[in-house]
Symmetry: C2
Subunit: 413 residues, 2 copies
């Protein structure tokens, strides 16, 4: 099938998916979870081919680790799907309804978006995750995975198609673009005639390319240059605990902290203790004022303050006051997650008000920016743009709305 044919089939299927009942959707997702586990042997065989190819192509250890499936990981993916099935169905909720003076009753009702395209890289678990989230919300989904996971993805899609078929539902509820060429992505991004939303999940390069070239509305997810600001009135023990957690609990994720901003008044107390804590574990890139207390650090360049290291590295900036901290963060951040550590009521409120980011924390680690940690039960990604959805996206982000209007003959004068 050409890209256009795939998109057209999704388009033609969208009203079918949208009309499925909650029971039909939940039964299918549970069935698909069971089937994935049943098909473990086939999926692992396919995954082995991808792993072998990946090693031959010299993929990094990190990438190979993301790519690798085990029976246990497949069980984990299936459990995630069952959790999605167990969530309340958000489609069809009339969030408000009001009556106009002329008697028209107007209601705002949640509806599926229609056709959602997702472009992702080497994580095969995304295939099942994204399918269950989109299907639960009555959307038809077109997946386009990276070449590294091609065999694994196709094995998982085969399993999903078999589940749909066994429940008497059209296989076109999920379509997969097997063509892994660059041109196929470029063509896909122009299919606004058929596709309502495109979500790129992957590195900054992929996201930038989609933002620049897509004619389909896009939700940007991803990059996080997250800051911890240790205020003049910080509890120093708490600041150390949170900085350590935000930086080192998991380094490769978008909600990990990449930069530390320290009020000059606490620098002499806080920074030597931080140096001790991070010694041999985290490399620091600091401004001259901070380096007085961080003897092992390197000099920070302007680039360091804008960098998402995703590594045991962190930039350090000292500031004269909270206003400078806020300006610095609003200048360098990616609009993801920022935290202040303070006991000052006024500074806490000021930080919450003035920082421009999806998630702004007082006295907590940035690592909580996550659909599950927020209590959404599931996550399609973390939006760093301001339109439609911002921050962790649960099922709601996959819905649109329509106005339903009940009249009794009204005409406009």
């Amino acid at each position: 099938m050409t890209i256009e044919e795939i998109c057209q089939r999704a388009y033609e299927n969208k009203y079918i998916t949208a009309k499925l009942s909650t029971t039909q959707k939940d039964e299918l997702i549970n069935r698909a979870a069971d089937d994935l586990v049943k098909n473990t042997t086939q999926i692992l065989a396919a995954n082995e081919i991808d792993m072998k190819n990946g090693k031959e192509r010299g993929l990094s250890q990190g990438l190979l680790d993301r790519l690798k499936l085990t029976a246990e990981r497949i069980e984990g993916v299936a459990d995630g799907m069952r959790q999605v099935a167990a969530l309340p169905d958000p489609v069809g909720e009339v969030s408000r309804m009001w009556t106009r003076p002329n008697g028209l009753r107007i209601g705002k009702k949640s509806v599926p978006i229609g056709v959602i395209g997702v472009i992702y890289e080497a994580r095969p678990n995304v295939t099942a995750d994204v399918f269950s989230l989109c299907f639960k919300t009555g959307n038809t989904v077109i997946l386009r995975g990276g070449s590294a996971a091609a065999n694994t993805n196709i094995a998982m899609i085969d399993s999903l198609h078999a589940s749909l078929k066994s429940q008497g539902l059209p296989e076109d509820c999920v379509l997969y673009i097997e063509d892994t060429t660059h041109e196929s992505v470029n063509r896909f991004m122009k299919m606004d005639k058929y596709v309502d939303l495109l979500i790129p999940r992957g590195g900054a390069g992929l996201i930038r390319s989609v933002v620049e070239n897509s004619t389909i509305p896009v939700i940007e997810t991803g990059t996080g240059n997250c800051h911890i600001y240790v205020d003049e009135y910080a509890d120093i023990d708490m600041a150390l605990r949170i900085t350590d957690n935000a930086k080192t609990q998991r380094i490769g994720v978008c909600n990990a902290a990449e930069s530390l901003v320290v009020h000059e008044k606490v620098a002499p107390v806080f920074l030597p203790r931080l140096a001790e804590l991070f010694k041999g574990r985290v490399e620091l890139f600091a401004d001259p004022a901070a380096r007085k207390y961080l003897t092992d650090s390197a000099e920070a360049t302007d680039e360091d303050f804008g960098r998402e290291y995703l590594d045991y590295k962190m930039s350090v900036k000292t500031v004269h006051d909270i206003d400078e901290a806020i300006s610095h963060i609003n200048h360098y951040n990616t609009g993801h997650s920022e935290a202040i550590i303070t006991e000052s009521y006024t500074n806490a409120q000021k930080f919450l008000d003035e920082i421009d980011a999806a998630c702004v924390y007082v006295n907590a680690s940035t690592r909580f920016t996550d659909g599950n940690e927020f209590g959404f039960g599931a996550e399609i990604g973390i939006s760093t743009q301001k339109l439609h959805a911002r921050g962790p996206m649960g099922l709601e982000a996959l819905l649109s709305s329509k106005y339903i209007i009940y009249g009794n003959g009204q005409i406009r004068e």
Copy 2:
């Protein structure tokens, strides 16, 4: 100033606008409304130049009519601004807040989007309308009007700048792109580094060009191929009244009906009466089954069913049942406004459920799709896309959200 400089200035101003208090914003909007009226002479002088240029360039009567300002129209624009000032300030509302098992309190708070760009054509009233809506919601706005209204727009912008200055506020709360070349629009659309949202207001050509070329997130507004479906169980008198209203009350607007879908069972009764009602007023383009009863009609082509006439013209399609009506409408519509005329409870619900459009009506004219008619107090446009906002957009559509999270030392395990 270059386009980049204008966008950068807006970007630098955005945190200033975002921090203004409700009182500051409302006082400024009221002041700006008064000033526009005070500057009537200057604005009308500028408008006269545009009108003269327009006539020389052979602009259509419709366009000249949109372009023309009078003292009365300026009063109307000012009244609209005062209405916006009188609306509740929607910025800073925490719509919900919940506590997680670990004690984190998470709230979802409404915030300005930041910098909003609006590209529009020959309607100078848009200059003041859009400014007041964006300013009320704490956004900095960049306007780019069409060349036909250049002098009028600049006179209005001068008045707005003077009002801002007199209140001690930065003029950069509203920026205007004077360069009316095509290249300036193209450059503007690529300024996603500085601009958070772009709204094109104008014809289908402008909108298509923005959707295809913008790297800034776009909200599509505009085109409406709206249908009236006269069901088997319609009240025929009501159907005639609503069809007449939806087609002829105002022909040049996006919520006017362009196509009529008629159940074959009521065609013999309804269509002859429609022919009589529309005789000499509305030209009909009908399918063969309908033409039996519409002797004056022309044969409808496939193109007719997809056309937004914006004229005293209407296409007519007969159908065997409501499913065919729904398929036909979902195929040809632009996702704007669709109405069913029926006394059948089941068919009304089915139509509301299955029609894919921003606004779906039972027994009312499509002409009600409008921010004021919906009770929003103001309107920035009518979105025909599914992301962020769908249907009439009031102040809410100009807001984003952020999560504010109150912790007491939480770290992620």
